[in-house]
Amino acid sequence: MLSCLRSDRTLRPLFAAVLMGAVVGLSLLWTQTGIHVSGVFALLCPPATVEAAQAPNAFSCSIHSAAADKGWIAWMVGGIFAGAFLTSFWRSRGLRFAIERGEGVRPLTRLVLAAAGGLVVGVGSALAGGCTSSIGLTGSALFSVAAFAFLGVFFLGGFAARIFFGRFWNV
C-alpha cells in the first residue's frame, strides 16, 4: 500500500492537497475570511483615508484596508507559526537551526538573497493587496478571475527569476 508519507515525513502531494484544501474550505465556511498572511503588515500601516478603506480590494491584505477590525490576522499568523512548529518538531524529532541553501552556496550569499527576496515579496504583497495564500489559494477557491490571473503571473515571475537565480538552488 502506498504510504502517505515521504522519507522526510512530509505528505505526498495528493494527501497534502487534501489537507490544505480542507483547511482553505474550512476557513471560507467557518471564519469566512480565507487564509491571510501578509495582511499582518497592513495592521502596522493604517489607511490614509476612510475612502481608501472602502476600495474594492479593501478586505484583502491591503494597505488600503482598515486596520482596526483586522486583529484576527495576527492570531491567524501566530497560528500558522505554531502549527508549522508543531509538525516540524514532530517530523524532525526536535528543532534544529539552519540556513537552508543550494549546494555550493555560501551562508552569507544565501542570507543576502533571502533578505532581497523578502524585500521584493514585501513590495509585491503591498502592491497586490495580498499574497499567495489570500489571493492565490482563497481567491481561486472562490473562482476569482483576478486570483487565477495572479497565479499565472506568479508562476511567470518565478520562471523569469529562475533564469538568473535558479543556479542558487541547484543541488
Binding site: P56, L113, A114, G117, V120
Partner: protein, 188 residues
C-alpha cells in the same frame, strides 16, 4: 467561539498543512521552477479544487456565502504584485506563508526573509503616492468570477478546473520522471 480563537485554530491547521506539504523548505519550493518537483503546483491546484468543491457543496446545503470582498478585483496591482511575489520566491526562497512555516522549522533564512517583508511593505506604502501611475484602476468588473466571465454554472467551472488539475498533475509527473532520469544518468 471568538473571532481570534477561530482564526488561531485555522492558522494552526494551515501552518501544519504547509509544513507537512514540505513547503517550509525553500529547496522543495524552488524545485518547482527547476521542473524537478511539481509538489507546489500539485498541492496548490489540488487544494484549490478541493476547497472550491467543499465550498460549493456547503453552499448547496445552505451555508452562508463568503463575502464578495474576498474576491479580488483584477487590476494592474494584482498582476505586478503577483509577478513580484513569484520572482521574490525564487530569489529569496519563500512566499509569506511558507516563510512562516520555514522559520517555525528553525530556518534562519526564512526568519530573515519574513522580517525583510516589512521594510518592503513600507517601501511600497511610501512609494505608491509618489508614482504617477494608477495601479488600482480596475481591468475587469469588480469581484469578477470565472462563472460570470464564462457564463457557465459554477459546477461546470469546478469540473473544468478538476480536469485541468489532473492534466497538470500528469504533466508534472512526466517532468519529474525526466528530471530524475537525467540526474541518475549524470551520477553514473
Amino acid at each position: 467561539m471568538s473571532e481570534s480563537l477561530s482564526s488561531l485554530l485555522i492558522g494552526v491547521l494551515f501552518g501544519a498543512s504547509l509544513d507537512l506539504a514540505g513547503f517550509g523548505s525553500p529547496r522543495r519550493l524552488n524545485d518547482q521552477f527547476l521542473l524537478r518537483d511539481f509538489s507546489m503546483f500539485k498541492v496548490m491546484f489540488g487544494a484549490i479544487v478541493l476547497a472550491a468543491a467543499i465550498y460549493l457543496l456547503m453552499q448547496a446545503l445552505g451555508f452562508f456565502p463568503a463575502p464578495d470582498s474576498l474576491i479580488p478585483t483584477l487590476d494592474l496591482a494584482v498582476l505586478v504584485g503577483g509577478f513580484l511575489l513569484g520572482a521574490g520566491l525564487v530569489v529569496g526562497g519563500y512566499c509569506p506563508g511558507t516563510a512562516l512555516a520555514g522559520a517555525a522549522g528553525g530556518r534562519l533564512d526564512a526568519l530573515l526573509f519574513f522580517g525583510m517583508m516589512y521594510p518592503g511593505y513600507r517601501l511600497w506604502v511610501w512609494l505608491e503616492p509618489r508614482m504617477n501611475l494608477d495601479f488600482h484602476a480596475a481591468l475587469a468588473p469588480s469581484h469578477l468570477s470565472m462563472p460570470d466571465l464564462l457564463g457557465t454554472p459554477r459546477i461546470g467551472v469546478l469540473i473544468g478546473l478538476g480536469v485541468a488539475c489532473l492534466l497538470g498533475w500528469k504533466l508534472g509527473d512526466h517532468f519529474e520522471a525526466r528530471s530524475a532520469a537525467k540526474r541518475a544518468a549524470r551520477r553514473t
